[in-house]
C-alpha cells in the first residue's frame, strides 16, 4: 500500500497525472514562471529569486527535468534551464482535451 495503483488506469490518465504532479507545487510553478519571464533561460539565479535552499531548488529542477518539462544545458560552470517546447505543447493539448470535455452543468445537482 501507499503506492498509486497505476496498472488500473490508462496510459493517458497516468501520463497526464504525472505531468500535472510535476507542476502541482508552488515552487515549481514559480520556477517555471521565472524561466518563462526571463525569456532567455536562467540558471541558479533561481536560488536568489526564490527563498529556498540551493539543494531544494536543484531537486525541484530535477523533477521538472524528469517529467521532460524543462531541459538543461551546461554553460561552463553554470547550467541553463529552459522549457522543452514539445513537452509544453503536449501538456497544453492533454489538458485541453481533458478540461474542454466538460460542456457546462447538466440538469442535475
Amino acid at each position: 500500500m501507499g503506492t498509486t495503483k497505476k496498472e488500473i488506469f490508462s496510459k493517458e490518465q497516468n501520463e497526464l497525472a504525472l505531468q500535472l504532479k510535476a507542476i502541482a507545487h508552488p515552487a515549481r510553478i514559480a520556477i517555471l514562471q521565472q524561466i518563462i519571464s526571463a525569456n532567455a533561460c536562467i540558471c541558479g539565479d533561481l536560488v536568489d529569486e526564490l527563498g529556498l535552499a540551493q539543494a531544494t531548488i536543484s531537486q525541484h529542477l530535477k523533477e521538472l527535468k524528469n517529467a521532460g518539462i524543462i531541459q538543461g544545458t551546461i554553460e561552463g560552470v553554470k547550467v541553463c534551464y529552459c522549457i522543452e517546447p514539445r513537452a509544453w505543447k503536449k501538456l497544453q493539448n492533454m489538458l485541453s482535451n481533458f478540461l474542454d470535455g466538460y460542456k457546462g452543468p447538466a440538469n442535475c445537482c
Copy 2:
C-alpha cells in the same frame, strides 16, 4: 520540514498548485472523466467502474470536493457528484494564464 513552504509564494501560485494537486492523480482524473462523460452525474457507480475499494474512492471524492472542483448532493441513500462549474472555469483560466505565458523557444539552449 516535510511541509511545503507556502508563505514564500504568491496567493495565485499556491492556489494553482492546490488545484493541480487535486487533479494530479490518475484515479481522480478517471473520476472526473466519468462524471463528465455520464452527462448526468453519477454516484457510487465509480466504485464499480474503477478498480479501487469503496473507501479509496470516497477519499478521492472528498479531496476533489475539498478543492471545490466537484459538488455532491444527497439523493436518498446515494450521493450524486458533479462538476462545480465555476471552479472548473476558474481552473481553465488559471491554467491558460500560466501555460500561454510561454511563447515558444528562446534563442538559447
